[in-house]
């Protein structure tokens, strides 16, 4: 990866000639693999919007189109695209126009065309990196006399080379058998190389070793490895922005520092815009927001007639922007001020880290004194196992935070790591029932089942050399959301009108449990399954019928009647003599009960009504009972007691039939 702000020019030079299409049955041909490498590479450049300039040269083509072709020289080489920033057009062209052709092209000739292209098209401009990537199976006749001149030329103009081949490079000649053992995945190796391929391989090696690059042979890749590496879109890179400030301790001790975001929840750079479905133009679509009163007519209100307000609990307080600006909390702007120091163990409640970032704080660049002063602080904190609690404000308009600055000492650098801590208002102290509960306490057998599961699923293990190996590192995985996003964009750009492709297998695999673990944990999981019965609870979401409620309540009532006599009993069985008086007390109680719109209370009301009825029957005087029931029935709709009435009717039927 090159540094920012530097200009890079790359020529992709691909062999599309006759032999590239050869493949063993069931295997992808060299052509297909090479095309994939190019596609992935260009895709990556387009969607990461780098400013790398790219050209595409094909050789082995049926036609010839290049500036050097003359008198039968430099034949079957076509400059497909001149040096330019890659775009979707190029992706489409590669998809549709780069096809296997039937001629043979000299890869050294093609290389010369590429060098010439780089030379003429970068002339007068400054580039920091010129690169040619050559993709071929090396299965062509070559004019090797020019090799030396080419090497000299490459060295002089500072052009670097990369080769992408169907087979790996042998580092020494005895390694022949070795390659067969280790590489069933590379077609061509197993069958042995042709005479041309062997000869050309020597030329490639000679070239790469004579160029002034360390480990030149490392720049010879196989198609497959390249695809794997290129599969992952380059991670979204952002230029770190320096935040110069002063760390202060009290009024008279300050250290010049500079802060950088080191870890942050990176969001996609671009938002979706809304376009018209027909024209695909965003200008054809307009969104408009109108305001209206919450009345029946939805009376529209003009923007000018709208003021700002805030909710204060149940109140709405009009609060103009001007007033708000004037009255709001103000502070002195950017700061990194120490409030005090505290033990690290008191703060490392990982779950109380707030915000979405980690800042790294260094001493100001080129200020050695600040460097020493900050180093003293970092080391002091480290030795005491303490952290600084600081007030941090990014600038005058941003809200100040409280946070912790941890010492961080690495081999080549020292810094403070800042993370935001919660405010009192942010914390929710929930209490949860203890799990130390007889019902849930796992047995020893259950615990040991979990133990063996953990054993089988440890992702960090020591190999035979005592070195730790981590089988799964999330921080090395590119964000799958971005990968998938760009995969779909690429697909839509080159094949519009077709459905989106499935998630790429490599991505699925990267997100999954490592295969070794899956195998290892199978038995412990089976044991676990047997030891811990898990049953999904069926959701009863169906509404109960009133009859069901009645039955349930009846059952409950019996219990209640035993356990407690509610006041009704006193009234119903007391020494009151006249039905009229009882009736009045009962109806009063019924009304009291009905003020609770709740089945329980309904049931009690019904019991009262039943008691009323029984008393009336007993004394052969139904007048009061009947008139009360009439008036109650009349008032049902007004009081919203339909449910109660239904229950009453049902209940009477249930009890008297």
């Amino acid at each position: 990866m090159r540094k920012h702000g530097l200009k890079t020019a790359v020529v992709l030079c691909m062999d599309v000639g006759l032999t590239m299409s050869n493949s063993a049955p069931g295997e992808e041909s060299s052509f297909e693999l090479a095309k994939k490498v190019i596609q992935k590479f260009v895709q990556r450049q387009v969607f990461s919007e780098t400013k790398i300039e790219l050209a595409l040269v094909l050789f082995g083509t049926d036609s010839t189109d290049n500036p050097l072709s003359q008198d039968g020289q430099y034949q079957n080489i076509r400059v497909h695209r001149h040096l330019r920033i890659p775009d979707c057009e190029l992706l489409i062209e590669i998809e549709n126009q780069v096809q296997p052709e039937s001629k043979e092209g000299d890869w050294l000739d093609a290389l010369v065309v590429c060098m010439d292209l780089l030379h003429t098209e970068t002339k007068g401009k400054k580039y920091d990196c010129l690169n040619i990537a050559l993709l071929t199976d090396l299965n062509t006749q070559t004019n090797e006399e020019s090799l030396e001149v080419i090497i000299n030329n490459l060295t002089q103009s500072g052009i670097t080379m990369q080769f992408f081949l169907p087979f790996p490079v042998e580092e020494d000649k005895e390694g022949q058998g070795d390659s067969e053992r280790r590489d069933p995945g590379h077609p061509g190796t197993g069958k042995g190389l042709s005479r041309e391929q062997k000869k050309n391989m020597e030329l490639v090696k000679e070239m790469m070793l004579s160029l002034d690059v360390e480990d030149g042979l490392d720049e010879i890749h196989t198609f497959r490895n390249a695809i794997e590496e290129l599969c992952m879109f380059k991670r979204v890179e952002r230029r770190p922005v320096a935040w110069p400030c002063q760390l202060t301790i009290g009024s008279s001790l300050s250290i010049r520092i500079v802060g950088y975001k080191a870890v942050t929840d990176e969001k996609p750079k671009k938002m979706w815009i809304t376009v018209d479905a027909q024209s695909h133009q965003k200008d054809d679509v307009k969104r408009e927001t109108v305001y209206c009163l919450d009345d029946d007519n939805e009376t529209e209100v003009q923007k000018d007639d709208i003021i700002q307000g805030f909710r204060y609990g149940s109140d709405i307080v009009p609060f103009s922007k001007v007033d708000q600006e004037q009255m709001k909390y103000k502070h002195d702007g950017k700061c990194f001020a120490v409030l005090g120091f505290t033990k690290q163990s008191a703060v490392i409640h990982r779950h109380q880290f707030m915000g979405s970032q980690i800042l790294k704080i260094f001493a100001a660049r080129d200020d050695e004194h600040a460097g020493v002063a900050l180093s003293a602080l970092i080391r002091a904190l480290n030795e005491l196992q303490m952290v600084a609690i600081v007030r941090y404000a990014y600038n005058r308009t941003s809200n100040p935070q409280v946070g912790a600055a941890f010492p961080c000492i690495k081999q080549d650098s020292e810094c403070l790591m800042y993370v935001q801590l919660p405010f009192m208002e942010d914390l929710r102290h929930f209490t949860f029932p203890s799990l130390e509960n007889k019902k849930f306490t796992p047995s020893d057998a259950q615990l040991s089942a979990v133990d063996s599961l953990i054993d089988s699923m440890m992702l960090v293990e020591e190999d035979e050399n005592g070195e730790q190996r981590d089988l799964f590192k999330p921080h090395r995985i590119p964000n799958p959301a971005f990968q998938r996003h760009f995969q779909c964009l690429h697909h839509r750009a080159v094949s519009p009108g077709t459905p989106l492709p499935p998630i790429e297998p490599w991505l699925k695999a990267a997100l999954d449990r490592p295969e070794v673990i899956t195998e290892r944990c199978q038995d412990p999981l089976d044991v676990l399954k047997r030891k811990f019965p898990l049953t999904e609870v069926e959701k009863k979401k169906k509404l109960k019928t009133s009859a069901q409620i009645f039955e349930e309540s009846e059952a409950k009532k019996v219990k209640e009647d035993e356990a407690e006599e509610y006041n009704l009993a006193n009234i119903a069985e007391g020494s009151v003599t006249s039905v009229r008086i009882r009736g009045r007390q009962l109806t009063h109680r019924i009304e009291q009960l009905l003020s609770n719109k709740n089945t329980q209370y309904y049931m009690k009301s019904i019991t009262c009504i039943q008691a009323f009825r029984e008393q009336s029957v007993k004394l052969a005087n139904a007048e009061h009972y009947n008139s009360y029931l009439q008036s109650l029935k009349g008032s049902i709709p007004n009081r919203g007691l339909e449910v109660f009435w239904e229950l009453l009717v049902q209940g009477m039927i249930c009890l008297f039939t």
Binding site: I249, I273, I348, I358, R379, M424, L435, N437, M457, P480
Partner: protein, 604 residues
């Protein structure tokens, strides 16, 4: 009547909930809390040494809960009811000696003020005048509260009632009243109301077994030691107890933790730390101050006709091309799998790096109601992870159409304080882990390390400024100020109450504690001429006052730039210097203005 246009208009009410509150009330209903406070004479007895009375303390707690509800859950309903009063005030006035001071509704500024009025010496006087102390019938009081609940037309999801009293025998042994109270309490509990007792100190101790043990709701599980709590005699204790109960835990999501094929543990996800924000503003109609609704519609620029969802697509611009997708495709791209947690494996705790932090953590607790047996397996997993000091690494999809993240499940054991109040609940903390994209490549400046003498001096400074950090120790000054302002406006106060900015360094105290240490440290690390306060430009390592050499342009060079149209390439300072040099007067400072002025001068 709704027109076709309205049908396709996405309507949003402006009065959306503040983002700091969690959970969807539309689905689950509102939370409610009733403070049922004893107003008997005993409550007003002041402690020795002028300690505030139990009543005073209770009002302080009620006020704190009111204001915190306003800030963090302003849709919750709260009521304040007194019992054992002389006066009576309740909806149908059917209950004597019960005084509904605030019925169930959202707390507002006025209510805060009204509770304030009951605090302190003056408050006791006001209480004596307005509510007084009289007979006690807890049964009537509970019944009255039941009516408060049933009068609410909104759907209530969580109903809690807290009784504040210092009398363990409120009816003085009247068994009829005791029985009535028990009956009412059980009626309430049957309707889903949770009754808590916040018992306060009284001489001779508070004996729950005399009466209240039959009133309060049984603890959430058998092992909870709720009833053995000591009565509160300190405000902080009481506040802590109320706080612990007052907030309903609301799961962000309920999903499965999948350990392997067919082994699904049901878990709830809870947000225990959410950045509280200033709530958004509401748009009001100027004339009436009533909130307005906003309607957003999408229409075709040329034809002016409203666009149906099917007439809209989404696009992104890359590599010179508009790449267009259907709206459902945009969602589909983000979908990897159904929501859930999938166990990848385990790692030793030291593999979790301090700086692998991208967003606040959430909390995991089993949901026995969804999958029976979850609690047992969860408990075993928690126990073993904790014992072996490992964390579980999981792939986590939190909602539908959300891309996956990896998370670390950190075991957390239950902790209780001396008063048996839970400080940390048992469960897993879920730490979000960064992907490769979330790291930025830095080029750290390199410096020599400090010497041991220098480090030791700093250690002295650090030790002098040691304090005990508490996570609840810092209020957010921005939010506090905002609400004080609103309070002042809502209550027509002259000026908002002053806030104390707790995250401001106490510079004077620090200076005083450090004394000569600062100078001693500076002498060790800074040379005499060095001033870290000065502007960076003036203190290059060279130390001198030399400025960047000026890039002076000759007239010819400038003319060439004008001719080749390359003035744009020059920087603003250079252009400004050029203007000065050639006596061009410019009013503007924008680059284009400078260029235009130069061109005008040199062409003439």
């Amino acid at each position: 009547k709704a027109s076709l246009g309205d049908f396709f208009t996405s309507m949003t009410t402006e009065s959306t909930r503040s983002p700091s509150s969690i959970g969807d009330y539309k689905i689950t209903g509102r939370d409610s809390l009733v403070f049922l406070v004893d107003a008997s004479k005993e409550m007003f007895i002041k402690g020795e040494d002028g300690e505030p009375s139990n009543f005073d303390m209770t009002m302080q707690v009620v006020r704190t809960v009111y204001t915190s509800k306003i800030i963090s859950s302003d849709k919750d309903l709260v009521a304040l009811v007194f019992y054992g009063t002389e006066e009576s005030k309740n909806p149908r006035n059917s209950f004597k000696h019960v005084y509904v001071y605030h019925d169930l509704s959202e707390p507002g500024a006025k209510r805060v003020q009204e509770v304030d009025a009951l605090r302190g010496e003056k408050g006791a006087k006001l209480a004596a005048e307005t509510i007084g102390s009289g007979e006690t019938s807890l049964g009537d009081a509970l019944w009255c509260c039941a009516n408060l609940y049933s009068d609410i037309k909104l759907r209530l999801s969580h109903k809690r009632l807290m009784i504040f009293t210092c009398r363990d025998e409120p009816h003085g042994g009247d068994s009829v009243k005791d029985r009535q109270a028990r009956t009412k309490a059980s009626d309430l509990k049957e309707t889903g109301v949770v009754i808590d007792l916040m018992h306060l100190m009284k001489p001779g101790g508070f004996d729950i077994s005399l009466f209240f043990c039959d009133i309060v709701s049984p603890p959430e599980d058998e092992s909870e030691l709720g009833l053995q709590l000591q009565p509160s005699d300190k405000l902080e204790d009481l506040l802590k107890r109320v706080r612990a109960k007052e907030l309903k835990k609301r799961a962000l999501a309920r999903l499965n933790l999948c350990l392997g094929e067919g082994i699904n543990v049901a878990v709830g996800i809870y947000a225990t730390a959410v950045a509280a924000r200033k709530p958004g503003s509401i748009k009001l109609y100027r004339e009436t101050n009533e909130p307005v609704r906003s309607k957003t519609r999408t229409f075709h620029t040329q034809t002016g006709s409203l666009l149906l969802p099917s007439e809209i697509k989404k696009a992104q611009y890359y590599g010179g091309k508009e790449i267009v997708m259907e709206r459902d495709e945009v969602d589909a791209i983000k979908k990897f799998d159904d929501p859930g947690l999938f166990l990848i494996g385990f790692k030793p705790m030291e593999k979790l790096k301090l700086h692998h932090h991208i967003r606040p953590a959430v909390f995991l607790y089993p949901e026995e109601d969804e999958v029976k047996g979850s609690s047992c397996l969860f408990s075993a997993l928690l126990k073993k992870c904790s014992e072996r000091n490992v964390f579980a690494l999981c792939r986590f999809i939190s909602r539908r159409n959300y891309p996956p993240r990896f998370v670390a499940l950190l075991p957390q054991n239950e902790e209780l304080d001396e008063g048996k109040v839970q400080i940390t609940p048992p469960g897993f903390n879920v730490i979000y882990l960064p992907f490769a994209d979330d790291f930025r490549t830095l080029d750290p400046p390199q410096f020599p390390s400090a010497s041991q003498t220098q480090v030791d001096k700093m250690k002295e400074i650090v030790s002098k400024l040691r304090f005990k950090y508490r996570s609840e120790g810092f209020e957010n000054p921005v939010i506090q100020q905002h609400f004080r302002n609103l309070e002042a406006l809502a209550l027509d106060m002259m000026a908002p109450e002053e806030i104390e900015d707790l995250i401001m360094p106490k510079v004077d105290q620090i200076d005083q504690r450090l004394g000569p240490l600062v100078q001693e440290f500076k002498d060790l690390v800074y040379p005499a001429y060095y001033n870290p306060e000065s502007k960076p430009a003036a203190k290059r390592k060279t130390g001198g006052a030399e400025k960047k050499p000026k890039v002076e342009l000759t007239e010819d060079e400038l003319k060439a730039h004008v001719q080749n149209n390359t003035l744009v390439k020059l920087t603003v300072p250079v252009l400004k210097d050029a203007c000065k040099q050639f006596g061009v007067r410019t009013t503007g400072t924008k680059k284009q203005e400078l260029i235009d002025a130069l061109i005008a001068r040199l062409r003439s």
